[in-house]
């Protein structure tokens, strides 16, 4: 619940009077304020700067430092103020959170200092408002990356790594050449050989000198042996490198699939294929084509150049924009090529032999290259040709800068949008959890409250101390309000059990005690009658009985997180329908007996027989009921074995007020 809205809780509760005439069953009692203090100003002294606020303002968030009793540790008796030796600037934001319910992140503040303050005051950063959340997350991520980089470089400089396997050392050496001298040597050697390989490929084709016979030979054929030796050497180095990387890779499958390894393979394949292949005329043509792939060796440089990698990544991520540009260009080309073809069809000896042939003309014209190898001869062709060149300017030249700037803008925007979407999803999930948490808190506190009372009844003080972690007054009032709504409609809030069981885990250590207690109560109260007018209240606590009974069965079946089985709920349904009917017949005996009988039908096999009794809800009963207490109502069969001392408890039932001895179903 938001902070400011807590101030409207009295209004919401008062408005609940509108449900009262409609409700069929009586309302639960309101939580009493144990020590109702008048709202007072408290002084918070933060490093000398004094802040003042109402006590209730701080108590809006009871799970933070300032809202809970934790701040008492900082109370200075002499000056009657709370002293915090922390940053007053950040405290301003934190105090505003209590006041307005929104936590803001001041941009001038260092992110880690802010985080520390939030952690100190027990405030989750997820509460930061939408206006500041993105900034906060961005800076946090930046900071984390920076720290990570720092850590990495620190580690590298240290050089003293814990015992890595040989394989892991090798992989690290490959990935980061600065780790050791050997890696550096390897790095430079491979780089050198890549350069050598690329240069030989280039030089191979240069004509160098003539051979007797007046034929210009390319160097590759003149010094064939030398080039072959160079090629072999390079390929051997590359093969060895590839195999070493394959061996050292932590995930070989992933390594094989990675782009760099594919480039490696493509770079060395032609050589091996050439070795394997015979000097057949048919395949030599294909073989020559394969040699082209040797140029891919130049891409191996991307391991050596960070910039190349970034460029490749950028292109990859702008692929959609580039694709769209290509697509629109293709559209224009096809249109104009078609037009030019049909326009030039008439002229003789026209170069525009087909539409695909016109593609070349269109492309050359649109990009304003204008080689002049294909020119239109007819007038129509010339007109359309000029339109084509003009539109080419528009289609290509204008959008290109826009697209280029769009690249960076859209790229960054996409990144931010994805980020925001992911963050939003996570935040919404958290908010949902908090929402269900609040209703869980309600069910939980219902349980707690009743357990508290049950414990109080049996007077076991040591258990009481366990239950001292009570909910704040506002929470209990809110829960009371929800409880009233439940009563009015005769329905009850249902919550996914896993969450409930998460909460119940906090009182796991009391499970055993509770069960004992309940069994005790059930035994005692097995033969109890109950004041008739309270009969319909059973349903109000079936939620409780559900949870405690399901826990009981959980104990036997060792399924701590199982959701409430549907079969159990059916019995609850019977009970709840009973109570609606009961309210229409306020006569004493009939309701009591009908409830008794129905509750017997609600026997569930899992529960022990001893626990099947009727619920007893006592209210400040008029003494007139005590004589009735003597006459026993028809006992629920089967009678609990050896139910002792039931008569003695009748008096306790009438004297205690608002205690629910819950019997399980």
């Amino acid at each position: 619940m938001a902070a400011g809205v807590a101030a409207w809780l009295p209004f919401a509760r008062a408005a609940a009077i509108g449900w009262m005439p409609v409700a069929n069953c009586p309302m639960p009692l309101a939580p009493t304020e144990k020590n109702k203090r008048q709202d007072e100003l408290i002084i918070l002294n933060v490093s000398g700067r004094r802040f003042q606020t109402w006590r209730t303002t701080l108590e809006r968030y009871p799970d933070t430092l300032l809202g809970s009793t934790e701040k008492e540790f900082f109370f200075n008796e002499d000056t009657k103020e709370y002293f915090f030796d922390r940053d007053p600037e950040v405290f301003r934001c934190i105090l505003n959170f209590y006041r307005t319910g929104k936590l803001h992140y001041p941009r001038y503040e260092c992110i880690s200092a802010y985080d520390e303050e939030l952690a100190f005051y027990g405030i989750l950063p997820e509460i930061i408002g939408d206006c500041c959340y993105e900034e906060y997350k961005d800076r946090k991520r930046e900071n984390a990356e920076r720290l990570m980089d720092d850590n990495d470089s620190e580690n590298n400089q240290e050089g003293s790594m814990p015992s890595l396997s040989f394989r892991q050392t090798m992989w690290r050496a490959f990935e980061n050449p600065h780790t050791s001298t050997l890696a550096l040597v390897f790095y430079y050697v491979t780089g050198f050989f890549i350069a050598v390989s690329v240069i030989t490929n280039v030089v191979e084709t240069v004509p160098c000198g003539t051979v007797p016979g007046n034929k210009e030979l390319p160097c590759g054929e003149r010094y064939a042996v030398a080039f072959f030796c160079l090629d072999t050497a390079c390929v051997m180095i590359f093969t060895v490198e590839y195999l070493l990387r394959l061996f050292a890779a932590p995930s070989r499958y992933r390594f094989i699939r990675s782009v760099m390894s594919i480039i490696d393979v493509v770079a060395i394949m032609p050589y091996y294929i050439g070795l394997v292949m015979t000097n057949n005329e048919d395949v030599s043509g294909a073989f020559v084509t394969l040699r082209v792939f040797r140029v891919f060796r130049i891409f191996k440089f991307s391991r050596h150049s960070q910039g190349l990698r970034i460029l490749g990544y950028t292109l990859k991520s702008c692929a959609s924009e580039l694709g769209f540009l290509l697509f629109s260009l293709t559209m224009a080309i096809i249109i104009f090529a078609t037009v030019m073809f049909y326009a030039e069809k008439g002229s003789s000896a026209s170069k525009f032999t087909s539409i695909p042939a016109s593609f070349w003309y269109t492309i050359v014209t649109m990009t304003t290259l204008g080689y002049g190898d294909m020119v239109p001869k007819t007038i129509a062709g010339k007109i359309f040709g000029s339109i084509c060149s003009l539109s080419g300017v528009l289609v290509i030249a204008l959008p290109v800068p826009v697209i280029v700037s769009n690249f960076s803008r859209i790229y960054h925007q996409n990144q931010r949008a994805d980020k925001r979407r992911a963050q939003k999803k996570a935040r919404l999930a958290r908010i949902r959890v908090a929402k269900t948490g609040s209703s869980n808190a309600y069910l939980h506190s219902k349980r707690n409250g009743l357990l508290n009372e049950a414990l109080e009844l049996t007077g076991s003080t040591e258990d009481e101390q366990h239950m001292t972690k009570g909910t704040s007054l506002i929470e209990s009032q809110h829960h009371h309000l929800l409880h009233c709504l439940e009563k009015t409609t005769g329905l009850s809030y249902l919550v996914d059990d896993p969450l409930l069981s998460v909460r119940t885990s906090t009182i796991k250590n009391h499970e055993f005690i509770d069960e004992q207690l309940f069994e005790q109560n059930c035994m005692e109260s097995s033969m109890q009658n109950y004041p008739s007018s309270r009969s319909p209240s059973l349903s109000s606590h079936h939620g409780l009985t559900t949870s405690c009974c399901s826990r009981r069965s959980k104990k036997t079946t060792h399924l701590p997180n199982s959701s409430v089985p549907a079969t159990r709920l059916r019995s609850m349904q019977e009970l709840s329908t009973i109570h609606i009917q009961c309210s229409e017949q306020p006569s004493l005996t009939t309701s009591r007996s009908s409830l008794n009988m129905k509750s017997d039908d609600g026997l569930r096999p899992n529960c022990k027989a001893a626990q099947i009794t009727t619920a007893i809800i006592s209210i400040p009963t008029p003494p007139a009921l005590t004589p009735e207490g003597e006459s026993r109502p028809p006992p629920p069969p089967p009678p609990p074995p050896g139910s002792p001392g039931h008569s003695t408890n009748i008096s306790t039932a009438t004297t205690t007020s608002n205690i629910v001895k819950v019997s399980a179903l």
Partner: protein, 197 residues
């Protein structure tokens, strides 16, 4: 030009409540209570008036699981006694004064006024059905037992059986007050929120 000015006027509507002494005299709250009420009121509505949207928003915060807009609408109409579309602090205080410090008669009167949607002095079954559906809506979908389609209608039938003495299909204020006074539960629950402030 008119619309722009109108818009500016709407945006800067400020309402200052009457003096504290006056409010103290008119309502049954003490000065301190009024101070607390006003601080909370002003926090959520800095402009000094609550319009229906804000009202619905505030009310829905208390019932996260269900849809409380319909009921909040009826509630708003009940508080907005002069029907000018906004609830000022005076309306707020007067309403709360009745609910928290009024006599049982006054409270029942207020409840009757809430149920009587068209304020004609009679609660018809349709009006009651609307109210009932609104209340059930607040519970939301995840309830146990699962809400049946005709549960509100049945509830209305129960209500009319109890309240409509002369079985003429409508409940008048006298029937209502009389029936409520006979019902112990209702009487008791009316006192429930005495110590809310």
């Amino acid at each position: 030009a008119d619309t722009v000015e109108d818009e500016m006027e709407m945006a800067t509507v400020r309402h200052r409540p009457e003096a504290l002494e006056l409010l103290e005299a008119q309502s049954k709250f003490t000065k301190k209570e009024l101070q607390i009420l006003y601080r909370g009121f002003k926090n959520e509505c800095p402009s000094g008036v609550v319009n229906e949207e804000t009202f619905k928003e505030i009310y829905s915060q208390f019932f996260p699981q269900g849809d409380s807009t319909t009921y909040a609408h009826f509630l708003f109409n009940a508080f907005d006694t002069d029907h000018n579309g906004s609830v000022s602090f005076e309306d707020f205080v007067m309403g709360l004064s009745i609910l928290l410090r009024g006599t049982v008669q006054e409270k029942l009167n207020w409840a009757f006024n809430l149920y009587d949607i068209n304020k004609d002095g009679y609660i018809t079954k349709e009006e009651m059905l609307d109210i009932m559906k609104a209340i059930y809506d607040m519970m939301g979908k995840c309830t146990y037992p699962v809400l049946k389609e005709d549960a509100p209608r049945q509830h209305v039938e129960t209500f009319f059986q109890k309240m409509d003495k002369n079985k003429d299909g409508v409940v008048t204020i006298d029937e209502f007050i009389e029936s409520c006074q006979k019902d112990e539960n209702i009487m008791r629950s009316m006192q429930l929120f005495e110590n809310v402030i």
